[in-house]
């Protein structure tokens, strides 16, 4: 099937009390991609996941997964979806292997020792399979959550803040595992507010705030469109106005003419090239400078600007 694996159209959710958690969200998820949904707390990320997975009843709109309407074909659709929620939520007194097998059974699949071993080994849980979950470390418990979601080999996997509260080493380990899942063909939708996480792993990024999807695009395209380069050139002597040769560049004078500020580029390296050109022109015109600082905007800058309503990007 070539169409999107998930299609949301006009998806809205208004909770009792009037909070509009989702506001006419339209979104297509491509098969095999890692899609990162970014946004601040309360933006609507978890509600969106809940609506697709059956935890939340949408107020309006339609959801189609694998080409089928989620409402009318909920059984067949849910068999192919996995969910790792943000909170650690399971029977703490159950054994790891029992808990994972329980999840598989609930999704309608027969016990499969080979699959159980494969999942537990891939998450370094095989040696802990007979241990009660409550005896595991926090990181191991989070892996159990992932093992439970993978037990029925889902084609579409939702990870709601998969690395929230885990240490840096485990986070990088999780990233490797998520990458491995993508390599196996699993489509992954993850929510995070670690923008570094999205920058590291995602193919496409969506930014959501106050229930509205502000932007959806390829990560590289977003960087190209909204990315910026900033340079601060400390001059040897104050300058009263910009030389005409530099007029074509996005430059400005600050600090009573002692600092030349560049703000431009598009996230593709254009900014760095222009800065190099500016420096060459300064040398050619015998304008001395003492220091040059450059900085590329990150995905985080872009997302923060979008959420704050500044569409011009940042550096």
């Amino acid at each position: 099937m070539d169409g999107p694996i998930l299609e949301l159209r006009g998806l809205s959710k208004t909770y009792k009390g009037g909070v509009r958690a989702l506001d006419s969200v339209d979104l297509d998820i491509r098969r095999g991609e890692i899609f990162a949904l970014l946004g601040p707390n309360g933006a609507g990320k978890t509600t969106l996941i809940g609506a697709v997975c059956g935890l939340v009843r949408p107020t309006e709109g339609t959801i189609r997964a694998f080409g089928e309407d989620v409402k009318s074909h909920w059984r067949s659709v849910r068999r192919r979806i996995g969910l790792v929620p943000q909170e650690l939520a399971f029977d703490m007194f159950a054994r790891v292997d029992h808990s994972v097998e329980y999840s598989r059974g609930m999704f309608g699949y027969p016990p499969n020792k080979a699959r159980l071993e494969e999942v537990l080994r891939s998450l370094s849980l095989w040696d802990k399979r007979e241990v009660k979950i409550r005896e595991l470390s926090g990181g191991m418990k989070r892996r159990v959550m992932i093992a439970k979601a993978l037990s029925h080999d889902p084609e579409l996997l939702f990870l709601d803040e998969p690395t929230a509260g885990v240490d840096v080493e485990l986070r990088r380990d999780m990233w490797r595992q998520i990458g491995a899942l993508r390599d196996q063909g699993t489509t992954i939708i993850l929510t995070t507010h670690y923008i570094e996480e999205a920058q590291e792993m995602a193919d496409r990024v969506g930014v959501i705030n106050k229930g509205k999807l502000l932007l959806v695009d390829d990560k590289d395209a977003i960087m190209a469109k909204l990315g910026r380069t900033e340079a601060r050139i400390i001059l040897g002597a104050p300058m009263s106005e910009l030389p005409p040769a530099l007029g074509e560049f996005p430059l400005s004078l600050e600090d009573e003419g002692r600092t030349l500020r560049y703000r431009g580029g598009d996230g593709t390296g254009k900014g760095k090239r222009e800065i190099a050109e500016v420096l060459r022109l300064l040398v050619r015109q015998d304008i001395m400078f003492e220091e040059v600082d450059t900085r590329e905007s990150t995905l985080e800058d872009i997302v923060v600007d979008l959420v704050d309503g500044r569409e011009g990007g940042a550096a």
Partner: protein
């Protein structure tokens, strides 16, 4: 239908029961044994058998004690079974799985009823150690016990969905079910009551359940078996209707 899903929930619930089997079984068995010793042996020997259809007082209270156990265990097992995933957040798995109301009921309610049946069976065996009793209609007794266990497991399931704290989970069994069971003829025949209490007792729905089970054990009871059966089946239908409504609306589940 997702039969494997239903089996998975059923098995998981039974596993949870067997993890705490010692406490789950010992407590009701000990309590019932104490009732049989105190009421059956100590006080019962002074009671007139003619008031209890010719049987000993110990044998008379066995169906009532089984009913007491069935009601409390079915209700608490089912309510706890569904409330705990709600409390811990693990309910997400049930809600996101291809599991409908039928599978959920087979899994949670079936397991809760099974647990109380196991305990009821052990209590019947324990009672044999203290009291000489027989079962007049063994087939009907087994069927009636299963029906009552299922009815109150359904009720417990509703309770587990309604409760938003452990206190509420305890209130209904402690403040409603247990008093109604005690006042419903567990330890006496309604014929022993003077008016107006005899009439008042007939407004207690548990009275009809105890009376029905007593009929299967002793061959006679305070009210016709048909009425007891109708009350029990009606209660099952009511509970299934309420649960169906809860699943359709998502009340307490998908809010």
């Amino acid at each position: 239908m997702n039969l494997r899903g239903a089996i998975a929930i059923f098995t998981n619930e039974l596993l949870r029961f067997f993890r705490t089997a010692f406490g789950s079984i010992l407590s009701p068995v000990l309590t019932t044994s104490l009732y049989l010793v105190v009421f059956g042996a100590a006080i019962g020997s002074r009671m007139d058998p003619s008031q209890f259809g010719g049987s000993t007082y110990g044998a008379f209270i066995v169906p009532g004690l089984i009913m007491l156990t069935l009601l409390s265990e079915s209700t608490s097992n089912a309510s706890f079974g569904i409330y705990m995933p709600r409390f811990t957040g693990a309910i997400y798995e049930l809600l996101s799985a291809p599991v409908g109301v039928f599978e959920t009921l087979v899994g949670f309610v079936g397991a809760a009823a099974m647990k109380s049946l196991i305990i009821a069976g052990i209590i019947m065996l324990t009672a044999m150690l203290f009291v000489d009793y027989s079962v007049a209609h063994p087939f009907y007794a087994a069927g009636y016990i299963v029906l009552v266990a299922s009815a109150f497991a359904l009720f417990g399931f509703i309770l587990g969905l309604w409760a938003d704290g452990f206190e509420k989970l305890q209130i209904v069994p402690l403040l409603i079910l247990t008093p109604l069971t005690f006042l419903g003829g567990t330890f006496y025949s309604i014929k022993m009551l003077a008016e107006p209490w005899r009439t008042v007792a007939q407004f207690n729905p548990i009275f009809y359940l105890i009376s029905g089970l007593r009929w299967t054990f002793m061959g006679g009871s305070d009210v016709p078996i048909g009425l007891s059966l109708a009350c029990t089946v009606g209660f099952v239908v009511l509970c299934v209707g309420v649960i169906g409504f809860i699943f359709r609306t998502g009340w307490r589940l998908r809010e």
